[in-house]
Amino acid sequence: MENHRFVLVGVGGQGTLLASHLLAEIGLSLGLDVKKAEIHGMSQRGGSVVSNVVWGKPVFSPVVGEGEADTLIAFEKLETLRYLPLLKPSGAIFVNDHEIEPITVSAGKQIYPNNADIEATLHKFTTKVFWIPANQIAEDLGSARVANTVMIGVVLKGLGVELDYGVRTLEKTIQSRYLELNLRALKAGYDWLAISNHKG
């Protein structure tokens, strides 16, 4: 199989690394070769965070270069734009419709782009853009902290992977006291795409 390359981006503290871990484990449970590459350190302090997951048979490079990503998963709107050049022409974008102001914006030095501009820019790269109210869905379930799992649910549906692979991976990965909430978040994301009118 051709490698399928994911780029996951967000802001330090949003659970990007956990989501990458879930995605990698799901790939492994599908019987694929998997590599997951992430960067730790300073960026975890509220900075921009990126990690790569590659599924394939076999996978060599763990790093996704410019124009190589099949799927870009963004937990924050602005970060979608920052890593857009990594996307393959006509690759898919999953964006969490959630805004976290960087300090440069709150300090008044720079301006956060508005939704229309973001959308227009994304559409220059691809028509497959999914806007997901993941924080809203997660809050309705009880905690914005599981927005990352909601996103993974949406992505699984988008890729045509059965929900059960996600469920089994969560059961293996998530601490028992958070498991139930995460399972609901995964399913909520999965169902959201199933019933939404996205043409992609």
Partner: protein
Amino acid sequence: MKRLLSGNEAVARGAWTAGAVVGSGYPGTPSTEIMEIFARYPGVYAEWAPNEKVALDVAIGAAYAGRRAFATMKHVGLNVAADSLFYAAMTGIEAGLVIVSADDPSMHSSQNEQDNRQYAKFVRIPCIDPADSQEAHDFAIAAFDLSERFDTPVLLRLTTRVCHTSTPVEVSEQRFVSSDPIKYPRNVAKYVMVPANARRRHGVIEHRIQEISQYAETSPLNRMEIRSSQLGIITGGIAYQYAREVFPEASILKLGLVYPLPAALIRNFASMVERLIVLEELDPFIEHQVRLLGVELYRGKQTLDTPKGIFPIVGELNAQIVRKAAIEAGLIEGEMLQTSPSFPMELPQRPPVLCPGCPHRGAFFVLSKLKVPVNGDIGCYTLGLTEPLNAIHTCGCMGASIGVAHGAAVAGDQERHVAVIGDSTFFHTGIPALINVVYNRSNVITIIMDNRVTGMTGHQDNPGTGKTLQGRDTTEIDIENVVRALGFTYVKTLNGYDVEGIEKTLKEWMKISDPAVLITREECALLPEARAKYVPLEVVEEKCNGCTMCFRVGCPAISKSEKLDPRYQRPLAVIDPSLCTGCEICAQVCPRDAILFRNQVLDKQEIDQ
């Protein structure tokens, strides 16, 4: 059953499987998790040492005593440990000794991008360079065996992309059990490096490295993958993955042992291919040695004798960079991948910042107000350099702040210098530098920002926390007592959030000419005990006039609201309750008492109920 392990997890597992019983390290990205994971295995002793030299001395001590041992650190840590590395190479060991050095190409979280394979050559010890987690696991085991077979320390060199990439690994459930430890050696000629002994040992290690290069010829760590004869690639470490990705048809000599090199194997491989190249990240380490063998390398269209033939010498590689360089060198056909339609928008930067509630913020706010030169150090508190605090002017390496400040003082710089250092860094290399200040009488003011944990690398314990890596209660070293014992008379400990107290103290000390040490002590706001105490503060809109004072503390929880002050039309402050911890620094600096303190917020909530 294969499981997904990061390179770091795989090294820890491999060390355990190899029967290592002692591990000592200092946390440093990308190496940190190795010792954290190793500490959890049964039947091992694992510790955080105050610095990498101590860690390596500990591992050497264990290996002299006949127990397999290893030390872990990031690449720059090996500079700190270099002194010990060199004597250990001279003496050799009784049981396997492995030094794990994690390099950081592209400097994701480091001050330089040194290629530590060079150390192996410098010291004459073998260097092993795995390409994924399976190899990290297998090569860790091989490193201990190699160490004992040739009576030498072994450098297991990792890079960020191996450390923090997770790939499937098959592990063994069996642990190697070494025979009963030997009686402690009484071998002065081998283990006491006075000049007469050291002279003999130098000959020994030069002979040893020749023997190891003979071994390298048939070592299973190196392998040939013969495919097409048109192109041959000599490669190792993570670069192997890029070689396979970009040149699927090429024949490959995959070196796991990247020092010393197998000369005959390389010549043999070269004779089997029409064009030969070396693909490696950072320094032309293999490339130079191959060229010294007289083996001809394909240099592409280059006419100048550049230090590195085809691929970049700076920064991390990836498949795309390799592909681009290969096209330019005429190695493969193809056009560059069409990327990024031109980007129509300028994006706001998102630099890392001091977290909301960070106890370092108070001192940095004062320092930025006082406009004094500040010599900084490595840790979370390096982020005091960012807007709007702009409070750090130098930052070189762990423990450098105090010495650099002292240097300016003795050089006669007219401004009063403040050195800033964290608690873990104080224990790492801060103490000798402080001794120098008090001994050589400079007027440096040192602020030890004690957030009760090693923060940047993810909350590791250190000599000040009262806990060991393996969770045992232990002596909690009292920083103030240590500083007093060094001979400082001006010493004070304040709460990190006490902006007024910090300002008053520093201003007083500016008037005297003695060295002084201020300890700002408050636990990291991300620790669970700190989280339990969060109380989000509130802005009283009627009192706020948009003066911007609170914005200057640089807290991500405070931003400009859409409401304007009626008089000056300036945006009012607003606090994000999901981010605010209630540290009260903003409330302290607000000149109009427009930000409620914790007690006021709690009182108000009671009234509301």
